[in-house]
């Protein structure tokens, strides 16, 4: 069982659908390991549903209903007897959302060597505001001291690491605010793989409104 969890603030923003894509993926991946946060997320979703039901309805023209009815023939209700089974072999433990992004297992990724004990593989989420990467730290290896200009979310996928604040194992979720220096070291017993989501240096305003400003150039995530 995971011991370190996203805060209730993060879970609320996740449940409301407000987290940036990359951060939302990291929280979703934690839920894979954590029944307790799954439970909380479900309850927070019910809170959203209650607010939804209490909205003042806005009239919808009959033409909208007509055009939906006209499209029903093309879209017969689907049968949901069996959803495609997630690959339960080698990547069985990896959260489904990461499997979608990785298209294979850890060994098939392109890993860039940073130091003797650290390799990094960048995954493309499409979120231009955040870097989304897997860190592979050799058993006992150290990540060089670093501080962040932005926030950092970390999720342990395999093995574990420790820093001045504690030691973290599979499924643990750690959130660090900007300007927080730390020096994680992988546990001695095995290699550590974790997911790190970092604020990109270029920070935009709310992701939901960026599209309204034609002058902002988005960088591909």
């Amino acid at each position: 069982m995971a011991k370190f969890h996203p805060s209730i603030d993060l879970l609320t923003e996740y449940a409301a659908g407000n987290l940036p894509l990359a951060q939302s993926a990291c929280v979703a991946a934690h839920l894979n390991y954590c029944e307790s946060c799954q439970r909380t997320a479900v309850q927070l979703q019910e809170a959203g549903s209650a607010l939804f039901g209490a909205l003042d309805p806005v009239p919808v023209g009959d033409s909208v209903l007509d055009s939906v009815l006209a499209r029903l023939d093309e879209d017969a209700p689907l049968s949901y007897a069996q959803a495609p089974e997630a690959d339960q072999t080698e990547v069985g433990r990896t959260p489904a959302i990461l499997q979608r992004l990785m298209k294979g297992d850890f060994s098939e990724l392109v890993w860039r060597k940073v130091t003797e004990s650290l390799r990094i593989s960048y995954l493309k989420t499409g979120d231009p505001g955040y870097e989304f990467a897997l860190y592979h730290i050799k058993a006992g290896g150290k990540i060089p001291d670093h501080d962040h200009r932005g926030s950092e979310m970390t999720l342990v996928l395999q093995g574990g690491f420790s820093d001045a604040n504690g030691s973290y194992h599979e499924g643990d979720f750690i959130y660090r605010a900007a300007n927080d220096t730390h020096a994680p070291t992988a546990l001695q017993s095995e290699d550590c793989i974790c997911l790190a989501v970092l604020d990109a240096p270029l920070k935009f305003t709310n992701w939901k409104y960026r599209w309204m400003n034609p002058f902002l150039q988005l960088r591909a995530g």
Binding site: S49, P57, S67, D127
Partner: protein, 201 residues
């Protein structure tokens, strides 16, 4: 119109084994079983105006986009009706979740996000076995809805901003001219009152 035996102070809480038999879940069952258009039209008349209100909350989408969202959500409801399980959740929660996901996808599409992920990938839908505790949480919707009505208005207002208008805590603070810490503590207080299971931080 849940069938609830209210035996003093129970305030609409359904026994965890209770099957939800409200009008909307019956409509979904009819759609899944017979492609029932009359049932679909009833659902549409109830939910489409809520979806439109949801789209226009926070006024970040135009009226044309709001109508487009209504169509997308209702088409998904039609297609996915068979995936609705009345033993797991209320029909209204199920429709809300589709609406929330479609709205997020629409925002990302409008921003031309090039992503392999759709919003529904972020809420892992459990196939088959679901841990009992999680299942129980799914069934606690009625209780949460009741508690919601009793929230002080300042807390309800902030939750509405976060959930319906899609504002982050920081944005809500800016709009209400409140310190971020105040917004966060109001959200936490509200969530606590809803008796949502909270981890000790």
């Amino acid at each position: 119109m849940h069938i609830v035996e209210n035996q003093g102070g129970g305030s609409g809480w359904q026994a965890p084994t209770g099957r939800r038999t409200d009008e909307w879940s019956e409509c979904l069952t009819l759609i899944a079983a017979n492609e029932d258009r009359a049932a679909f039209t009833r659902l549409f008349r109830h939910f489409a105006p809520l979806i439109k209100a949801f789209a226009l909350s926070g006024s970040s989408l135009s009226a044309a986009h709001a109508d487009e969202l209504v169509q997308e959500v209702m088409l998904k409801v039609w297609q996915k009706a068979a995936a609705f399980n009345p033993e797991k959740a209320a029909a209204s929660t199920w429709v809300y979740t589709i609406a929330r996901n479609c709205r997020t996808d629409m925002f990302r599409r409008l921003q031309k996000f090039d992503t392999p992920l759709a919003a529904e990938d972020f809420t892992p839908e459990q196939e088959g076995e679901e841990p009992f505790a999680v299942l129980q949480s799914r069934r606690s919707g009625d209780r949460i809805r009741d508690l919601m009505d009793q929230l002080p208005s300042d807390q309800a207002q902030i939750l509405a901003k976060v959930y319906m208008e899609g504002k982050s805590h920081a944005e809500a603070a800016g709009e209400l001219d409140l310190p971020l810490g105040t917004v966060k503590s109001r959200v936490r207080l509200a969530i606590q009152k809803l008796q949502v299971h909270m981890e000790k931080q």
